[in-house]
Symmetry: none
Subunit: 207 residues, 4 copies
DNA sequence: TATGAATGAGTATTCATTCAT
DNA sequence: GATGAATGAATACTCATTCAT
């Protein structure tokens, strides 16, 4: 499928991938210009289409590529020895924060891709995201000691409440960053806040 | 700002607003065509720009307009006599569901606007949404009897957990609808599920 | 349909029509460049599409336009008082030769259009040509005195032989012109040759 | 000129020729893609240009090649013992019909080539066609007994009338086939019609 | 001889915006 | 106020041809 592209030397591949991710992350699918991508990557018009066929295929390739990098980096670092859910989440948040600093464009690209309204790619991306979630959902709860939880509540719904809380917090922090003039993240405040939520949730849901 | 437009007779205003909302809701900001809007509204090309200056200003005007309609309709219907938070939320969900059926285009437009990646409008819309949420947040908790809650937890964080849960549930249901072939909403199942979450959250956070 | 275009002042219409006919006649449908047409006509890119919608519609408009001109000019000049078939054909050939000199591009355009292999327009053009022929076939034989012909032959087939002969002669002369370096037509030689064919055909098919 | 190509083993030559003829016959000169040809032929892009220099030269080579095949097959089968013109034509029509079934792509290619409007090849193809006709014209009338014809008419012009008739009939049948939904040829009806024309032409031009 | 990556000018069409009327 | 003709840069994508390997 993309063997032509994957046979390129790493430096050129990276140049093209980074140029494309940047453009898509900044402008969304429809507004991203293949012209800008080739200009940024320093390759000719035709070459891009020689590698990827068309814009859509290029986009979907990039999406898969980014998912793979993040998934690999993320799930490899999760400590499966940790049996306590909140410790596990504490660790996951730490890892995610590190990755977010390491690959800011990559995360932005995936986030934008997920929200992109362009009908051309919407359905495919949603399918991919669903598959991804199904796979990953399992991993993060793998080996957790659920006996610590109150037995008078549906454990699945309790987990949903906990993850909803941290996902919403994450989204809010992302928005704060975008809207703040310095685009700086106040890690210390966030850390403290998270611990406060941990405390409440443990009081609420642990035996 | 838009005084020229607002001085038009109501019928013409409505024709233009409805045409524009429909186009933006269907195609998103970038793909929406001013051509289609004027055709649908039965006015001339030049007139649209005479009223709104440009596409971006027209879009932002529409966004404000829709927010106002929905906010008005939403908050007017909330029963402020209801002091119990979960009953209040139960009522709010009901009202929102009704409005969603009543103004599908309006909601769709706002949703699309919120997700729209077009760099031209993104920042402005996000700012407006934040302001809107800040205003509304207060109203929904107005007059609630917080004495029912456990006193060993920060009440603000508990509220955040509760709202996060229902917002995430709402988002998931919206996605389910989009991905389902019939685009039908299973209100009964949702109702039951919400009640189950109410039960858990009351056990967890009420005295 | 093309009312926008037809409301233009005649001079501009002509400039655009002539530029387009020239380009299509020279290069065929597929190879004709809308870029070249607007450059030659001295109008902007968008305007062409404002008038005609797309390349195909422009082409079909031009085809109809050319057919109309030729048909009008051709059939209006035929002398319907002339009852003798060969005299009638003699007259028609004269008229056609004059028109060919008057509108060389027009004729070339129609001829090319008829032969154009481009799948986009082939079917439509063929349909139009068929309709045209059906209408015109009648006119040229209108009021002819067929009692002069031998009665032991199917008159329709005899007419087919006669028209085939002159059509083929016409095609051959067209080719000769194209291939000759001077692109000059030797009218006198052709005149003489035609008369010789008349003589033979009259001997063969008249009583 | 094409010695590099002609030194290839027959199998590879055929693979390339067939791929190219198919592509040109299907899409015409301009729309034919060298990419498709090399893909179908299973050779590399560069090799095609190594053999033929460029698209135009390849096309002209193919045209010559096809003409040669058809001419060889056609003229070898003509019964030169048959001295009667109409019997000879009868035979020729039969042979041509057979060849048309045997080599549909080849014929289609030549036909398309002849009609192709692409200015790049038009002039060259027309010259070749003229040469071809001059050569063949002689052969088909070789050894015919012209004493059967009326002596009060120029025999060359009579022959022109006869051939024009059948050529036009052939063109019309080709068009009918193209426009008919089934693309089926009604051989029986054609046979009958041809015989009726034979009868008329014999009455008209035989002593 | 054989490969296929690389080029870049070319294509039709769209679209927000302007401006003379 | 109201019109809609006019603009031209922008879009994704194609394709014959070249050339380093």
């Amino acid at each position: 499928m993309f063997s032509k592209f994957l046979n390129l030397d790493q430096e050129k591949q990276d140049r093209i991938i980074n140029a494309a991710i940047k453009e898509f992350a900044l402008k969304g699918y429809d507004n991203a210009s293949t012209n800008e991508i080739v200009k940024e990557a320093g390759i000719s018009k035709g070459l891009l289409f020689h590698y990827f066929g068309n814009k859509k295929q290029m986009f979907l390739f990039l999406f898969d590529h980014c998912c793979k990098i993040i998934a690999d980096e993320f799930y490899i670092k999760i400590n499966l020895q940790e049996k306590d859910l909140f410790n596990r989440i504490r660790g996951a948040i730490l890892i995610k924060t590190e990755l977010l600093n390491q690959y800011p464009n990559l995360f932005k690209f995936i986030e934008e891709a997920y929200l992109d309204e362009s009908s051309e790619i919407k359905i495919e991306i949603e399918k991919k995201v669903k598959e991804l979630n199904d796979i990953n959902f399992g991993k993060i709860y793998d080996g957790i000691d659920f006996s610590k939880f109150r037995s008078d509540m549906d454990i699945k719904k309790v987990l949903k409440i906990i993850t909803s809380t941290f996902e919403k917090l994450g989204e809010e922090e992302m928005n704060k960053v975008k809207l703040s003039p310095s685009h700086q993240i106040d890690y210390e405040r966030i850390q403290v806040e998270i611990e406060e939520y941990f405390e409440i949730l443990m009081k609420a849901f642990y035996k």
